[in-house]
Symmetry: C2
Subunit: 360 residues, 2 copies
């Protein structure tokens, strides 16, 4: 069990290890001696792990109930948020109780936003069940739901009280889900950890995702969490260096949204990293070898390096992104493996960037 201590506006522990769900009861004692726990999960994940988690909680003396919603990004909206809040209220949940997110990024985002705002904030615990959530969504306290007009347009900063990341759950993920998570892992390597990037170049997906006591996967996740920790501690409220974590995300969101969210987040981010790297290369902002290694690693893990959607389809969504301030957007460019920077670009120039990145 690797333990990483995050010191943001609130301090909490991210524990990574094989089979650590069994430790939930013990770990939770440090957060709340007694409490009622609302397990928030979707209808894919709850049938797999919900009852196991509930038993662990009840054995440790907690009372649990559950809110299970239909899976998928399409349900990460104000309607589902409202239903969860009304259930918390109907069951008389109070500020001494807590919400436990059991699932991937959608579940964590939704449950976290509810935890941030129900009675102006109750405690929040995360059990990520996807690689994406483990390396990214579970650390940093960004929570959100989507509006009809855009992804993650409503939300709050809400640090969890505890994150338990059980690698055993991740090794059974479908291929697509695991690959989607790898996109964020590659991102961490590209923007801030050249050793991690090399490690990924020198291993393969089968080795990373094998079940049992998988020390390699544990190490890779811990490494991503450690890096995100640095960004979050330096810039919790995302006004400076933390923006570097958006590498691949600005164009990625354009792809996701243009597809009506049928392209998974990780796949879109992978394509976004490659597109921006190619566009940056033509402007002398990213070295040829750097761009080549990013594309090669993306391909190695079965992720797309481009998109079928056109710039025209993507642009309206990119222009309404939260990262747009006035008429300018700060694009993240990896100039060499392990190092990234922000490039301010006028919204009017984005279509040129997309074209140079190989988008039709």
């Amino acid at each position: 069990l690797k333990r990483i201590r995050i010191d943001a506006s609130k301090s909490y522990t991210v524990a990574v290890g094989s089979g650590c769900v069994a430790e939930l009861g013990r770990e939770l004692k440090a957060v709340a001696e007694t409490a009622r726990v609302m397990i928030v999960s979707d209808d894919n994940v709850y049938p797999l792990y919900g009852e196991k988690v509930r038993k662990v909680l009840e054995t440790a003396g907690y009372t649990a109930s559950q809110f299970v919603f239909p899976h998928g990004e399409a349900h990460k909206n104000l309607d589902t948020y409202g239903l969860l809040l009304e259930q918390l209220c109907a069951e008389n949940y109070s500020r001494s109780d807590l919400i436990l997110a059991l699932g991937g990024g959608v579940t964590g985002d939704l449950a976290g936003f509810a935890a941030a705002t129900y009675q102006r904030g109750i405690r929040f615990v995360q059990l990520p069940t996807t690689l994406l959530a483990a390396v990214d969504a579970s650390v940093g306290g960004k929570t959100a739901v989507d509006l009809k007009g855009g992804k993650n347009q409503v939300g709050a900063f809400c640090q969890p009280s505890l994150v338990l990341c059980d690698t055993e759950l991740l090794s059974t993920l479908p291929d697509t889900e695991f690959r989607a998570g790898m996109a964020e892992v590659i991102k961490y390597g590209a923007i801030g950890d050249s050793e991690l990037f090399k490690l990924l170049e020198n291993t393969d997906m089968e080795t990373l995702r094998k079940g049992g006591d998988n020390q390699l996967l544990e190490a890779v996740i811990a490494r991503c969490v450690e890096q995100k920790k640095q960004f979050v501690q330096n810039d919790e409220f995302d006004t400076g260096s933390r923006m570097l974590l958006n590498f691949g995300h600005t164009f990625g969101h354009g792809i996701e949204a243009a597809s009506g969210f049928r392209v998974p987040h990780g796949y879109a981010v992978a394509a976004g990293m490659c597109i921006i790297s190619r566009a940056a290369e033509t402007r002398g902002l990213c070295g040829r070898e750097t761009r080549r290694r990013i594309e090669a690693l993306t391909e190695k893990y079965g992720l797309p390096t481009g998109t079928e959607f056109t710039g025209e389809q993507m642009l309206p969504y990119i222009a309404s992104d939260k990262k747009v301030s006035g008429r300018q957007v700060k694009l993240v460019v990896t100039d060499r493996i392990g190092h990234a920077g922000l490039v301010p670009v006028n919204v009017a120039e984005l279509s040129e960037w997309l074209k140079d990145g190989g988008v039709k």
Copy 2:
């Protein structure tokens, strides 16, 4: 123009004065040199002051649009919140823009919660148009909307960037609205400012609410804001002394909710202060003279000292209040004028308290 500087997690100015809406453009320059401003207001207030505010903004070089919703607490819900968010998104509002609440407590709560969560937080300016909002809701950063299951059950802490309180707008308020605000003014006197309490005993409502350059009203509002400032600076996130501001509110919420929100907030709080004071007197926690003066001042300003609703009708709402932690609730008791404390009470004992407070 009286200026009060609030230093919470964010610093901002509350300016109180007659006709100060005209200064909005100049005051706003310190907050944002250029920005788009979404004026949030209800269908009572916008027709009165909306176009005036918009002109002041446009003269100062800002672009304004408006979100006007049906007036009343019944519309302070997730549906109206969702409509406002979708409009912000549809009009491409970004983090460099701001929301301006023009109205009473409902408008401030709704607009503030939207500002706290839209794109995880954009700036927020308040122009209170009721006495209640001026002395209470505009300071302190508590924002919220109601759930079907309870009042103010979802929300966030969100400090405004600027509050402009124009006493000219308040002097034209309907009687009922002005009285409702007086309940909170009396509360400030009771829990923490015996001089203010005496001042209220020695004046009357007509003097307080006369139009023109009303220095007395300006002074009373500034005094309430100064006091709230102390509570907020000491306990921004409402885990300790700030709870004293809830004097009259726990039972008041019971009355409001039992009436289906037909009893205005201020009226319910007034009754709540008298009920808790009588109940506290029977337990030796509040002096006879203190209880008498609270009742007398409440009556003097035309506010109710009790309720027609029964304990049975009120209790379910009180028991689901945010202030209930586990099975205990902390009731605020004014032991002598200008001083209050918290009394932890078991939820099971609340019906006895209500009975002793004169509730049927």
